[in-house]
């Protein structure tokens, strides 16, 4: 408990460094990654993170010195080299983008492993802290690391702010941007360079694979909340930052799973799992675009359709002079299990129908609603028959689908158009203005 208090009040300088470092990293990765996802380059970050490894090795072999800035410089050079190789493979050979990404990833990383194997056997070097580039050691962040990741974060955000309009257009419609005369290739490379900077800075903290996660997941998560780019980027940055903060906070609080580890849970995986949880949460529960919201919308629509079908069936039974009961209603169409009962219950609650001795009759308000549906149905049938020349026995199914979506305006237009035709095309006569059915009486509406 004491630990927890110290954590949330940021009293521990070490924890503060780690939290701020991973938080700023998550923010930058979220924003840049969202743009990469938009550009359909989600996995380039993954390849870039792998491609940076030989750079670290080369930096060590050349300078024979274990210094983070030199490592990062080497990683950046090879990361950019990787992106250029990818572009060259795609541009000059018949190999497609996905394979180009995978080839660069595998080849560069293999080269890195080969070099790091050589470094390991050097008299002067024991992997030179290279392993931390593979798996990340967020918990080992020091003040200098924090400064570097904060600087990268600010650089990335400034870059995006300065080129916002351009990156937006290139992201949504590359060809259009090109036709407007914008340097599309240069803008793409700028985005990739920003991606490389953020990736490389993040490597020592969260490692190769988990860096890819931090780039991709927040951007995809934000898609469930908005359709507009600016809020999308802001949300992606927020989700990335939250993942970084919560992940490192959790790793500081949770007890270590095994005694051989000096402190807590491994931070990198926790950060990614927080991001993954945010993703699953948004996938399920985001308003409008989440799966639950979409399922609810679909369900409400289905209920509405069921209600209208019930009312129309009741009207048509009444028209034919047959008393409506549960069994006669069930015969009229294929109801999904339980949906007829549910629709009937809703109609009773609404006082659209009454149920006397198992005979179901429309009330006045039910009749009004039923008339609206039946008018939509029959006018559409008539319209198809008169103006599109569809045979009467082919119009019912179509009308069954569309009757729920015809607006009053459209209905009035149908009426006006049909009334101009022959003498009594609507064959109304009925006080309610319901046209007679196209189908001979006695024929089942289905």
């Amino acid at each position: 408990m004491n630990d927890f208090l110290r954590l949330i009040t940021l009293q521990d300088a070490n924890t503060r460094t780690v939290l701020l470092g991973t938080g700023s990293l998550g923010l930058a990765a979220g924003v840049i990654g969202a743009l990469a996802v938009l550009r359909r380059r989600a996995l380039v970050g993954d390849a870039l993170a792998h491609a940076a490894l030989p750079g670290v090795c080369v930096a060590f072999l050349v300078f024979r010195e274990r210094s983070l800035p030199l490592f990062l410089l080497g990683a950046l050079v090879f990361g950019v080299l990787g992106v250029l190789t990818m572009n060259a493979i795609r541009r000059f050979t018949r190999i497609k983008e996905d394979a180009a990404i995978a080839i660069v990833l595998g080849s560069f990383f293999g080269l890195g492993i080969m070099l790091s194997g050589m470094i390991q056997r050097l008299p002067s070097g024991n992997r030179a802290g290279l392993d931390s580039f593979l798996f990340g050691k967020a918990a080992g962040m020091v003040h200098a690391d924090l400064l570097i990741s904060a600087a990268a974060c600010i650089l990335a955000l400034l870059g995006v702010a300065a080129l916002y309009k351009e990156l937006k257009l290139v992201g949504f419609d590359r060809e259009f941007a090109g036709s407007l005369g914008w340097p599309v290739g240069f803008l793409d490379l700028t985005l990739m360079a920003l991606l490389a900077i953020v990736t490389v800075v993040g490597l020592p903290a969260v490692g190769v694979v988990l860096m890819a996660a931090l780039l991709i997941i927040p951007g995809v998560t934000a898609k469930f909340w908005t359709d507009r780019l600016a809020p999308h980027l802001a949300l992606a940055g927020l989700f990335g930052m939250l993942s970084g903060l919560l992940g490192s906070a959790l790793s500081a609080v949770l007890p270590s799973p095994n005694s051989s580890m000096s402190r807590g849970f491994p931070t990198g995986p926790l950060i990614v799992l927080v991001a993954g949880t945010l993703f699953v949460g948004s996938l399920l529960f985001a308003p409008r675009r989440g799966l639950v919201a979409r399922w609810r919308t679909a369900r409400l629509l289905q209920q509405h359709i069921d209600d209208e079908h019930l009312l129309r069936d009741l009207y048509e039974l009444q028209e034919a002079g047959t008393p409506a009961s549960l069994s006669t209603l069930a015969e009229r169409r294929t109801w999904r299990t339980g949906s007829l009962h549910a629709a009937l219950r809703r109609a009773l609650t609404n006082a659209d129908v009454t149920d006397r001795n198992a005979v179901i009759t429309l009330t006045a308000s039910g009749l009004t609603r039923a008339v609206r549906v039946i008018r939509s149905h029959r006018l559409w049938e008539l319209y198809l028959h008169e103006h599109a020349g569809v045979a009467p026995d082919h119009v019912d199914r179509d009308a069954d689908l569309i009757e729920h979506f015809i607006t009053p305006n459209l209905l009035a237009k149908f009426e006006a158009q049909l009334a101009l035709g022959d003498a009594d095309p609507l064959r109304t006569g009925a006080a309610l203005g319901v046209p007679l059915s196209l189908h001979p009486p006695g024929e089942n509406a289905r």
């Binding site: 493979i89 990404i101 595998g106 080969m114 050589m118 056997r121 008299p123 996660a213 005694s259």
Partner: protein, 453 residues
């Protein structure tokens, strides 16, 4: 297996022992297996799925270990197979249900699963040597130390399980060859023909997950990623046929396995700061693989970058040679003297191209160069007649048959003349003959005589 007898010796590498040959055999098997399966991924444009699966099976491995408490291959295969197929299903599901781009949904799924795997391993790590480093790099050079005996034979365990995997893969490919081929190229057509593309796809995904597990122990996950894509891509640059592509990819994979080991052996002979150097064999294998891809990208007869440039250069040179012959012929018609190099350059194009073309023409004895003047030889004159004849026949044809005005035909003919074959030329001559008075020699629309063959 003791390092007793040298089997044979190679330059740069030194003597190879039975031990080395086992490593080479193991590496080649991994290469061949991944190469064959990678062709499918490449054609489906799902190359990164190899990367995704090989990372995502980590929680499968850790989970299987935590549940069963054993590191036996059967449990590992089961865990990895389940999670591998799950990765494919989740990726496809997110793509379809949540409308996320396929690569992004792949990225979300495999990174999250990998993070889960790392966490699970850190629970398991208390009492097992299942460390991420080993999973990443693999220990190819130590595979012969861990042996099993089968039917009285002492075999390295990794080699034996890879051979078994190779049999399974070969069996599945043989039985489902037609289905796999069709699904790789056109899943919609496969579905229309009553095959089940999704089922075929997941059979392939399961095979890839299985091969990844078997390969893991020897070569590590990254090498699997490299070998799943690079040999297939290399083969794709060399051939257009699926069966040939698989055979080539398998050979390339096997070759890079062997080559990588030899490279690693060679690096071991280097000395830096007085100490011998060493390296990771798995890393060397993917580097050799990448070099083979580069070579194919440059020199592949049909799809290579350099071959394409060479083809274009050869065409340019032929056009330049023919243009020079034409110019010299027309000059001879007018003034019966040759042309200087600068006059030729003005008419034909860049200096170096003209120089090169002249060297070739002189070597064939078609032109003479005297006092800085280029002149046609007898033989050159005969060849130029042919060429100028074709030019003028085409002009006549365009005017007489297509009704083009005479002052519009020259530019069009200047391009077409290089691509008119002798048999078409003869037909042209017959046709132009019927449009002109029979007794007089043939003339072009500008009134010049058309030289016969």
């Amino acid at each position: 297996m003791p390092r007793d007898a040298a089997i044979f010796a190679l330059p740069f590498v030194g003597e190879l022992f039975a031990y080395d040959l086992w490593v080479i055999a193991t590496a080649s098997l991994v290469g061949a297996l991944c190469g064959v399966l990678g062709c499918y991924l490449l054609l489906r444009r799902l190359s990164m799925l190899g990367d995704a699966i090989s990372h995502a099976i980590l929680p499968g491995l850790a989970g299987a270990f935590l549940l069963s408490g054993s590191r036996s291959l059967a449990w590992m295969l089961l865990g990895a197979g389940v999670v591998g197929v799950l990765t494919g299903l989740l990726t496809a599901g997110l793509h379809r249900v949540a409308k996320i781009a396929e690569d992004a949904s792949m990225g979300v799924v495999f990174t999250t699963l990998f993070a889960l795997g790392v966490l699970l391993i850190s629970f398991a790590a208390r009492d097992v040597d299942l460390d991420p480093g080993c999973v990443l790099y693999g220990l190819l050079e130590f595979t012969p130390l861990d042996t099993v005996s089968l039917w009285g034979l002492e075999l390295p365990r990794a080699t034996a399980s890879l051979a078994a995997a190779a049999l399974v893969v070969a069996g599945v490919l043989a039985v489902m060859h037609k289905e796999i081929k069709l699904v790789a190229f056109d899943p919609a057509l496969a579905a229309a023909l009553g095959m089940r593309p999704t089922l075929v796809h997941f059979v392939m995904v399961a095979l890839i997950a299985g091969v990844s597990v078997v390969s893991f122990e020897s070569v590590g996950s990254i090498l699997v990623v490299a070998l799943l894509v690079t040999p297939a891509a290399t083969a794709h640059l060399l051939t257009d046929r699926y069966a040939r592509m698989m055979i080539l990819a398998a050979s390339i994979g096997a070759l890079s396995g062997a080559g990588g080991y030899l490279l690693a052996k060679h690096i071991e002979t280097w000395k830096v700061d007085g100490a011998t150097l060493g390296t990771s064999t798995a890393g060397c294998v993917s580097v050799v693989c990448a070099l083979m891809f580069l070579a194919a990208a440059a020199f592949s007869p049909r799809h290579g970058v350099l071959s394409r440039i060479a083809r274009q250069l050869a065409l340019k040179l032929r056009i330049c040679r023919e243009d020079i012959l034409g110019m010299l012929y027309r000059a001879a018609e007018l003034r019966s003297r040759g042309l200087s190099r600068s006059e030729l350059t003005q008419g034909v194009g860049s200096t170096w191209l003209v120089d090169l073309a002249l060297v070739l023409l002189r070597r064939r004895g078609l032109v003479l160069i005297q006092d800085a003047t280029v002149r046609l030889t007898e033989q050159g004159h005969a060849e130029a007649r042919q060429f100028v004849g074709t030019h003028r026949l085409w002009e006549s044809f365009l005017t007489a048959r297509l009704g083009l005005p005479p002052d519009h035909v020259h530019a069009a003919t200047d391009r077409a003349e290089h691509f008119i074959a002798p048999d078409i030329r003869d037909k042209l001559a017959q046709d132009v003959r019927t449009t002109q008075p029979t007794e007089s020699p043939l003339t072009d629309p500008h009134g010049r005589q058309i030289p016969g063959p």
